[in-house]
Symmetry: C2
Subunit: 348 residues, 2 copies
DNA sequence: TTGAAAGCGATACCAC
DNA sequence: GTGGTATCGCTTTCAA
């Protein structure tokens, strides 16, 4: 059996005609507004529902959105393509939480992919069109965040939330989900201090993003508070790790290092071993970043609750969509430390 | 500096007022229709563009969709949640291709997540609403495809394409992207025959999905055509692998086995080894499925070009959206065989 | 209780 | 060239 295709999708008007009522009656029954629906006699209601079924009527969501300014669509805009990197779990865990929570509360997700430039980066605005407008609100994430876009979105009053802290000139506090790097790096320094480490060092990436600033401030704050001593270049703002400093480190009083990345930690490890020192026997190391599957050691490291952050982002976004005044509130999410084999009490 | 939020998004009417022209003029300039835009004096055009910039006007996509019936949004509906399984590369590679191609041709993707039932399955229709309607068309995928949903979608004339062949009662041929299992299983049988295998066996999963039917037909077809002999239960429609048959296999004339899954192949391997026989020395094995990372052997197996299929799905979908008459055409995509270490010439 | 009618924002036809 | 205006499908007053 082959059913013939219908030429045109049925509208409320068609349903109304078939049921012998007015279009508004149909709207009231369909719309599900309990208030309005309740005032409709059981009989009329049934006739309408029957007509709906017979015609296979389904509401047109664009029309609804046009009227209601809302369509239960939440956007996800990543400043880089999602899936190629998803595996590496940078985006992946966030998306897991985002999808999970969106499903729970009955929203669909729009993945904004159309805005890709040739350089692989994605912008919100392209030839004057803000595609994000199809969705009620959007979760933004990515490392290559375009601040001009953020500022403009904020300026337009478009509901959005950014995963990761960003300071945007021209906008007040934009709503972000902020992993508590400040707090956790303080805790890490505290943990090292508790292990007896007095002389510590900091390895710094060559990145000036806000999340790194938070880590650096948290660390610096704790160093001062705990009376630790750090003479490392990284602590003074110099990125990277060179031989000169490795030499000093191998021969100096430092017994613990905090590294902004696994990459730096790995070269530190090689450098130290080449100089006859080891981790954690001589130097304890904590890494401020998730650890890949082929790390040479089980680094003690910072853990970002990405999935949880994804879920929180959706809730925060919905709150902003429902009440635009909520949009100035950023949310700080606690991080944790994953134990590894790279810390030990300070050698005396 | 803090910019104040705008209370209402600007419309074309606002732009028109500011530029001192009519709304239609604005539409013509904005809409980008080269035809209409060309007929507008450079001067007017400039004034309009200036007003647009000044107000930060962006077109309302819902209104456009309402008018144009198109909004450059393509849906992705999976009958199960995507991300939890994405890693296992079942959905993942498809999505990679889908995202990639959508980005290339300037479409955004709607991930339909709102339709989840409590059992983890997702349906298209929930309380009479077909959410898919927000998108111009939708790619459907998943193992737990709901055929009633497919039939209804087809009946409604909604543009969609299904990844994987599905036969739907009540609809003519629904548009699918069909991996050529029929052809490739034939090739596999041919390859075994070329290696001298005469007596072959087939291991069958307990699944009655169309893709499995295709594999089975392709295999059966080739067995007959090539004059091979298969007395296995799997070939006669009995799923699984039991000791009785393993005993027969270990002592019988069979020198090659085609297995529908890695799982069955692994138990076959264990069973054979327990009986003093090995792969491929005594028995060659080809697996009709992607192989996980922790397979005990590099199985020779069927490879589905998932990413490519994702890309093709998007192109096919766009074709259907552009021309609804294209929707009866399914597309067959060739598969390939990945060499492994599990086949060898038949022992004499 | 029910229906008529005014928009939501953008497009395109048809006069001027 | 330019500007009215009907229309897309739905929601929501406002009257009847």
């Amino acid at each position: 059996m082959t059913t013939q295709r219908r030429e045109r999708a049925p509208r409320q008007a068609d349903v109304a005609r078939l049921a012998g009522v007015s279009q508004s009656a149909v709207s009231r029954v369909i719309g599900g507004d309990p208030e309005a629906a309740a005032r409709i006699p059981e009989d009329t209601r049934r006739r309408i529902l029957e007509a709906v079924k017979e015609l296979g009527y389904v509401p047109n969501l664009s029309a609804r959105k046009l009227r209601n300014k809302t369509n239960r669509l939440l956007g996800v805009h990543t400043f880089e393509p999602v899936f190629p990197h998803a595996r590496e779990s940078f985006y992946f865990e966030f998306l897991l939480g985002i999808e999970e929570r969106a499903e729970e509360i009955g929203y669909d997700l729009v993945l904004f992919t159309s805005t890709g430039a040739s350089d692989g980066r994605r912008r919100v605005y392209r030839d004057g069109t803000n595609r994000l407008n199809v969705a009620d609100g959007t979760v933004l994430l990515g490392v290559a965040t375009d601040k001009a876009d953020l500022a403009r979105l904020w300026q337009e009053g478009y509901p959005f939330i950014h995963i990761g802290r960003r300071d945007v000139p021209g906008a007040a506090d934009i709503p972000c989900i902020v992993p508590d790097y400040f707090g956790i790096t303080g805790d890490i320094a505290g943990r090292l201090a508790a292990l007896g480490h007095q002389h510590v060092a900091y390895l710094r990436e060559d990145l000036e993003l806000e999340p790194y600033e938070d880590r650096r401030r948290g660390y610096a704050d704790a160093v001062e508070r705990l009376g630790l001593i750090d003479r490392s270049p990284g602590f003074r703002g110099v990125p990277g790790l060179d031989d000169a400093w490795l030499d000093q480190l191998a021969g100096g009083p430092e017994t613990a290092v905090v590294s902004e990345s696994e990459r730096l930690a790995e070269s530190l490890l090689r450098g130290l071993r080449a100089r006859g020192r080891d981790v954690p026997a001589d130097v304890s190391v904590v890494v401020l970043e998730g650890i890949g599957p082929d790390a040479s050691l089980r680094w003690e490291h910072l853990d970002i609750p990405r999935k949880e952050i994804g879920r929180i982002a959706i809730d925060a976004l919905v709150a902003i969509v429902d009440d635009p005044d909520a949009r100035n509130e950023s949310i700080v999410v606690p991080c944790s430390i994953v134990d590894g084999v790279t810390t030990a009490p300070a050698r005396p």
